[in-house]
């Protein structure tokens, strides 16, 4: 968090309403999102209690385990969940586009992908655990589960994993996305409460948000008071209806909040790079679907040495790109870099569009631009620069002093003797330059898993899902 965000928080606290910290939306929003609010049984690692879900805000589906300690009911619940989720996920598989690739066969990429919107990071973690506890099950053998349960487990695992992938929108958490766009007058810890966060953004703060009787927690943990006074007696009564109605009271308020959160985000214009990141999500989704179709095994419990390094490289790459893209897409995010002197913006006061360097054949067009800025520039001469106004161009800082910065355009000028119209900013234009650039070189190859070197434990034993996994107790 930067001083810019801190200032927004101070302002929010003073005004009694959240302040924007983004001018565009940095996540993709599906036309048909699936809202998913899971609840778990307190004291258990991953025992499902209920879920409210659906794509229609007026018709939520409520799935309940009315006897939470009954193993069969849990699997029945998982099968029910699969009955809602799998058709939704699979509905995106039919329409695809063919994508050509260098050095690889073309592949089919889904034109759209599922989007599972959950309330908070706790829900993401719980989804991952639900996936973990169901994906190794077998539909045959001594402890058979309904057919769709292991498949559900693989999709839940996939979506849960993807949620920690920087810039992905396949499984956004409402509190995280809202928090990326608005600063409240409370702490980040308190922002994890969806009701509190939303009130800050809409009507202003209220302590009601922390009162579980008015706003039940958004899950996955339930309110201990509710457990003691409502849920436990309902379960003991043996009445499935009573349990269901009790849980409905806990989920419905959050359901309404979730759609409000989606509306709020939808009210922001989409950032320029969002479509590109969503395209990566679609590609990843199609890859997962293909792996399942090819009969691949369920995801392993933990990454092997090579898989871990590969995932880390992908995530770091995605994080770097996400950070740069948000700054380029959004002047308010870029302002954070201007504040620290890693970017500057201002008006062009002078240009030398015909400036060249080199002689004869190696003579190159290197236009000069002088920018007048109020920003504290902390970049040394020679720094490579990029600009959101002309994303294909590269530039270099020549000098900076007294609020005047001279920039030399070094890339993207073409081969002509004079610049193409519009290629060099005109005097009077507002421009922004930054040392933040996204010039990724590609990452070097990793060994095949079976060639894991001795430094990392040697070739791993191949994982074969076994009966133990399939029979693992779920209690």
């Amino acid at each position: 968090m930067s001083l810019l965000t801190s200032l927004a928080r101070l302002r929010a606290l003073h005004e009694g309403v959240a302040q924007p910290i983004a001018t565009v939306r940095h996540c993709h929003l599906s036309r048909r999102p699936m809202v998913f609010i899971p609840l778990k049984l307190s004291g258990e690692a991953a025992a499902p209690l209920a879920a409210m879900l659906g794509t229609d805000r007026d018709r939520p589906r409520l799935l309940v385990v009315t006897q939470p300690r009954n193993r069969d009911q849990r699997f029945a619940w998982a099968a029910e969940l699969a009955g809602v989720l799998l058709p939704y996920v699979e509905s995106f598989l039919a329409d695809t586009e063919t994508v050509e690739r260098r050095n690889a066969d073309p592949y089919e990429r889904a034109l759209d992908a599922p989007q599972l919107v959950v309330p908070n990071l706790g829900a993401v973690a719980f989804t991952r655990l639900l996936g973990r506890s169901t994906r190794f099950r077998r539909t045959d053998g001594p402890y058979p589960v309904p057919e769709e349960v292991p498949l559900l487990g693989r999709w839940l695992t996939y979506l849960g994993e993807r949620a920690s992938y920087p810039g992905s929108s396949l499984m956004p958490a409402a509190t995280e996305e809202l928090g990326r766009h608005w600063a409240t007058g409370q702490s980040g810890l308190e922002d994890a409460n969806l009701a509190a966060l939303l009130h800050w953004i809409t009507d202003g703060p209220t302590d009601d948000a922390e009162d579980p009787l008015i706003w039940p927690p958004a899950g996955p943990a339930t309110d201990p008071g509710f457990d003691a006074e409502v849920l436990a007696p309902a379960i003991d009564s043996g009445s499935p209806e009573r349990v269901t109605e009790a849980l409905r009271t806990q989920l419905e308020p959050t359901w309404r909040l979730m759609w409000r959160a989606i509306d709020l985000l939808a009210g922001l214009p989409e950032g320029a790079s969002v479509a590109q990141r969503w395209e990566q999500d679609r590609a990843s989704f199609s890859g997962m679907a293909a792996a399942i179709a090819e009969g691949g095994p369920p995801q392993p419990r933990r990454d092997g040495a090579v898989a871990a390094a590969a995932r880390l490289a992908r995530m770091e790459r995605a994080q770097a790109a996400y950070d740069v893209q948000r700054a380029y897409d959004d002047p308010l995010v870029m302002a954070e870099f201007r504040l620290t002197g890693e970017a500057f913006a201002g008006e062009v006061v002078e240009t030398d569009p015909g400036h060249t360097e080199g002689e004869g054949r190696s003579r190159k067009l290197r236009p000069l631009v002088v920018v007048k800025t109020d920003d504290p520039v902390r970049l040394p001469a020679g720094t490579a620069l990029g600009t959101p106004q002309r994303r294909g161009q590269g530039a270099e800082l020549v000098s900076a002093a007294g609020g005047l910065v001279t920039v030399k355009i070094t890339k993207g000028m073409g081969r002509g003797r004079t610049p193409a119209p519009g290629a060099v900013p005109e005097v009077g234009e507002r421009v922004c330059y930054t040392s933040l650039t996204d010039d990724f070189q590609g990452s070097p190859a990793l060994p095949e898993s079976e060639s894991t070197p001795w430094t990392h434990g040697g070739p791993p034993q191949e994982y074969v899902p076994n009966d133990d996994d399939a029979q693992e107790e779920w209690s």
């Binding site: 801190s6 200032l7 101070l10 606290l13 307190s42 004291g43 991953a46 008071g225 002047p331």
Partner: protein, 377 residues
């Protein structure tokens, strides 16, 4: 769960006055472990030192703590513990063999809880003394041993939900927790809490050995954490190195002896007395209690919301003061010396002239304000 009782004698008189007629709140290992949660908070240090029941105080003030435990979690915890301890800790023994890599043939099991309460500490001492001098080979499990710890000059008795395991004169603390270990990983904050708590027992057991003339290092700094594995009830044991937690705990206990400094600064007549009536419920006017508390310095940070019973009271106070502490330690730190929201915003929009030493933060804030205005125009 009962806890810690201490003898008031010697330097504790001022603290006793702070407590007044309120019975001393029992501390358990968790409470002692929590001393490190916010050591900079004088209010908390005084309340803890005096043994005031912060939960009761918070409720009386109209700011009940946001902590509660679900009956499902309690049931689950108890069921898991009895499973681990069933059949004379047979399951525990299996795990100890595995995790310590020891060929433990058989163990004796002593449940100290079966001894009358007033004898338990003496009984624990005798058992441990014998074991430390002990014959090699035979392992022993001590369930519910009653240990004690010196805190700020008085003796605190820890009533442990803990098992001590001894083999060949070497001790391990066994901590049974009902959060799950899934594929080798567990909730890091839950593990940390367990480690802090276990460290209290390690320290207490070491102190006992030392007092009895044995080598305190016979108590291992590796504690055995027993948790359910994956989604099942089957327990799994993991060694957790608590050396860091021990160091923190020692520091905090040393600090407790420095409470005098805080006490010296207090007004003579200050008391946190809840004035409990016959039914045990506080009768002191809440406003008066609130006033008394406000005469001590709190150091509110949002982390308190998960660590201190008084958190809502102190947050409310911070709100009334317009303190930037509300926004978190990081924001507060970033603002340099500027403590109030009003002041920071005044510096940002230029309506307030920076005081000496505030020139830089004022410049940064003005710059930030300019950028925000420009981008949101």
């Amino acid at each position: 769960m009962s806890g810690l009782k201490r003898s008031t004698s010697g330097p504790g008189e001022r603290l006793a006055a702070l407590r007044g007629t309120t019975p001393q709140s029992p501390h358990d290992a968790r409470a002692i472990a929590a001393l490190a949660a916010n050591p900079g908070c004088a209010r908390r240090a005084l309340l803890d030192g005096a043994g005031i029941d912060k939960d009761a105080a918070a409720r009386h003030l109209g700011f009940p703590a946001p902590f509660g435990q679900s009956p499902f979690a309690i049931t689950r915890g108890n069921a898991f513990e009895s499973l681990v301890k069933a059949d004379g800790c047979a399951e525990l023994l299996r795990m100890l063999r595995e995790v310590l890599g020891l060929p433990i043939a058989e163990v004796a099991y002593h449940d100290v809880e079966n001894v009358g309460a007033h004898l338990r500490h003496a009984h624990t001492r005798a058992l441990i003394d014998r074991a430390a001098a002990g014959a090699p080979g035979a392992g022993t499990l001590y369930d519910h041993p009653l240990l004690s710890l010196e805190i700020a000059g008085s003796t605190a008795y820890l009533e442990p939900d803990v098992v001590a395991f001894q083999l060949g004169g070497r001790f391990h603390i066994v901590e049974i927790k009902s959060f799950a270990v899934i594929d080798g990983q567990a909730d890091p904050s839950a593990v940390a809490a367990a480690a802090r708590q276990a460290a209290v027992y390690v320290l207490a057991l070491r102190a006992l050995l030392e007092e009895l003339g044995h080598d305190p290092l016979k108590v291992s700094h590796d504690v055995v954490l027993v948790c359910p594995e994956n989604f099942a009830n089957r327990p799994v044991a993991t060694l957790v190195d608590v050396r860091r937690q021990l160091a923190v705990l020692r520091r905090q206990l040393t600090r407790m002896t420095a409470l005098d400094r805080l006490l010296d600064d207090l007004p003579e007549d200050l008391t946190f007395d809840l004035a409990p009536g016959e039914d045990g419920l506080p009768t002191r006017p809440p406003a008066e209690l609130a006033d008394a508390l406000r005469r001590t310095d709190a150091r509110y940070a949002p982390d308190c919301l998960s660590a201190c019973d008084l958190c809502f009271f102190c947050r409310d106070e911070a709100r009334q003061e317009g303190a930037s502490d509300l926004l978190g330690r990081q924001v507060r730190d970033e603002l340099g010396g500027v403590a109030s929201v009003e002041e920071a915003l005044g510096l940002a929009d230029g309506t307030r002239h920076p005081a000496e030493g505030q020139e830089e933060i004022a410049r940064l804030l003005r710059n930030a304000e300019r950028l925000r205005k420009e981008c949101l125009a």
